[in-house]
């Protein structure tokens, strides 16, 4: 549905996007993750025809988006990270305006608007003035606006930013609904864990470059090729470290107060052998566990701390 090949965007000597490649099949939700200023919004604006690319190719549903800009606008629904609303327009009038922009027939408008308001749970605010809505409601209205022409692909730039926890949950529920409706969605966030549970695959971008992409499981596998073991001893910390060093499949041993963390490249039998050896040789082991990679750790690891540019 969306294919990006070797995309570059340069401002003077600075590359906002550099050699970006991406492919999203139809019906998938792709999470675009990266720290602020990583190039997410720039990439999304290029896809939507709001910015020109320095070079590269973007195809949406087989149409060259960079050269046939007008043709792709019907296929895209875009929700920017920051947006405003018109004063003195009611919720239904706001959607009616965008329906007119997309030349939706007068007789179909009412049903489409009612359906969309129901989808984003704003039916009860139909006659309220847009300016008086809460931030979460405005975000949902903007999402409804991006769906007014029934686009094939949705480009959502940080749709949950600035929302309170409840509004975030509501937004996630709407996005799951859209996924069930078969929409292809490209959604960005700077919080990996926020996207991991709802996206079919994710890509982490940093300094304009795609650092890693794939399913969440694949990414974890790539980042943590070795397992991590964490153990707590009540005493004999140095002796325990000496024993661990005897095993060839254990490395990168670090210690804290009665705590040991190390890399482990063995199987389940090796794991039980390590524990058994420690206990047999009189080490008072309090806890012994294998660590799962934390999503935020992954993000920090691949984005080098996620510092802003």
């Amino acid at each position: 549905m969306l294919e990006i090949k070797s995309l570059y965007k340069r401002y003077g000597k600075f590359y906002a996007v550099e050699d970006l490649n991406l492919s999203i099949p139809e019906g998938e939700i792709f999470g675009f993750v990266g720290p602020n200023g990583a190039g997410k919004s720039t990439t999304m604006k290029i896809i939507c025809g709001l910015l020109t690319a320095t070079s590269g190719e973007v195809y949406i549903d087989g149409v060259d988006a960079l050269r046939q800009n007008k043709k792709i606008k019907e296929k895209i629904g875009y929700m920017p990270d920051f947006f405003g609303v018109y004063d003195d327009l009611r919720v239904d009038e706001y959607l009616d305006f965008y329906a007119s922009v997309y030349k939706i027939k007068e007789e179909n408008k009412k049903k489409i608007i009612d359906d969309l308001l129901e989808l984003v749970d704003l039916s009860h605010k139909k006659e309220a003035y847009v300016d008086n809505l809460s931030r979460g409601m405005k975000q949902r209205l903007c999402l409804a606006r991006s769906l007014i022409h029934n686009p094939k692909i949705l480009i959502l730039d940080e749709p949950a930013s600035g929302l309170d926890p409840r509004a975030r949950v509501e937004m996630k529920a709407i996005l799951r609904n859209l996924k069930d409706m078969g929409k292809t969605i490209l959604i960005s966030s700077h919080i990996l864990s926020e996207l991991a549970e709802m996206c079919t695959s994710i890509g982490i971008i940093d300094n304009g470059k795609m650092v890693i992409s794939g399913t969440v499981a694949d990414i974890m596998q790539q980042i943590y090729s070795k397992k991590l073991i964490k153990l707590k001893v009540n005493d004999k910390l140095e002796e325990a470290v000496t024993i661990l060093k005897e095993f060839p499949f254990i490395d990168k041993i670090t210690t804290g107060e009665n705590l040991i963390q190390c890399g482990f490249d063995g199987g389940d039998e090796d794991m039980s052998r390590v524990l058994n050896t420690l206990i047999t040789r009189g080490i008072p082991v309090a806890t012994f566990a294998q660590l799962d990679g934390n999503l935020e750790d992954v993000f920090m690891k691949v984005t080098k701390g996620g510092e802003e540019k």
Binding site: K45, C48, L66, V101
Partner: protein
């Protein structure tokens, strides 16, 4: 035919606000004050007969001049924030990513402002009816006047739209629009006076082409043409600035050429604004870069 959605939305929003009613009310108040003053002055003139055609010409020119000045002030104010305001409110990107052509956005914004001007002009018709009480002015002449108002308003509005697309802030766009408007009204006049004084002294007996850019000169030419050059020429005091005396001038009426020039300026500025607003536009000077 489907109405331009931007125009439709703007009409809905603008007419809903108190600002619209305030502008119309203030506008009519000023015109009514001028009309009443002229009527009062005539009623107290002991030498005037009951029906004085000179009164109608005076009343007509008085109301026409005030209305023209008001339009020149209002038109840029309505358009200078049209696109810059969308940018400031962060609604422009939402419009640009739709399949609405940039030219439709620009024209929709201009037409919305012009419809406001049109309402002001229509609302002023009862003021002009005073003139008909005394005779001397035909309906055709009033139609010419209103036509000139609309074309001038479109030109002034186009300058506003142009700066609104090229400058990011509404305030800056408004200042630049008024600066250009002032230059067109007074700058060209000063240049014309100096040019004639330096190169022709008092013998210049033609219409300086530079003044085709000047809306006041065009307006003055319209009134002098309508009155045979005897009345209402606001530039009579400037020696050598010929404004088109209907009895001696052989060429096309300057106000007519002024109208064509205004239309030309509007088309060019709106075209440039449409190009500028398009985020994936090709640079006008891209051929130079290639070289």
């Amino acid at each position: 035919m489907m109405m331009n959605p931007v125009l439709l939305k703007e009409l809905k929003v603008k007419m809903r606000s108190w600002k619209a009613a305030g502008i119309i009310g203030g506008y009519l108040f000023i015109l009514a004050a001028v009309a009443l003053f002229i009527t009062y002055a005539n009623a107290n003139d002991m030498y005037s007969s009951t029906i004085n055609p000179q009164f109608s010409i005076g009343a007509y020119s008085g109301i026409a001049v005030i209305q023209f000045i008001l339009i020149l002030f209002i038109a840029p104010a309505l358009t200078a924030g049209a696109i810059a305001g969308e940018r400031e409110k962060q609604t422009l990107d939402l419009l640009l990513c739709t399949n609405l052509a940039p030219r439709s956005i620009v024209i929709g914004k201009l037409l919305a402002s012009m419809s406001h001007i049109l309402i002001l002009i229509i609302a002023s018709i009862p003021m002009f009816s005073i003139v008909f009480l005394y005779g001397g002015i035909s309906v055709l002449e009033i139609a010419q006047l209103f036509g000139f108002y609309i074309v001038t308003a479109i030109m002034a509005g186009s300058i506003g739209i142009f700066f609104s697309t090229y400058v990011k802030r509404t305030i800056a766009a408004t200042v630049l629009t008024y600066a250009v408007g002032l230059f067109m009204c007074f700058g060209t006049l000063f240049i014309a006076v100096f040019y004639i004084r330096i190169f022709y002294n008092y013998d210049y007996q033609s219409y300086l082409p530079l003044l085709y850019l000047n809306p006041l000169a065009g307006f003055s030419s319209l009134l002098t043409t309508q009155f045979g050059g005897q009345y209402a020429n606001i530039f009579n005091m400037i020696p050598g600035l010929y404004m088109g005396n209907a009895f001696t001038y052989k060429g096309p009426a300057p106000w007519l050429i002024n109208t064509y020039v205004n239309i030309g300026i509007s088309v060019v500025l709106l075209f440039l604004a449409s190009i500028k607003i398009n985020p994936v536009r090709k640079s006008l000077f891209s051929f130079l870069k290639r070289k």
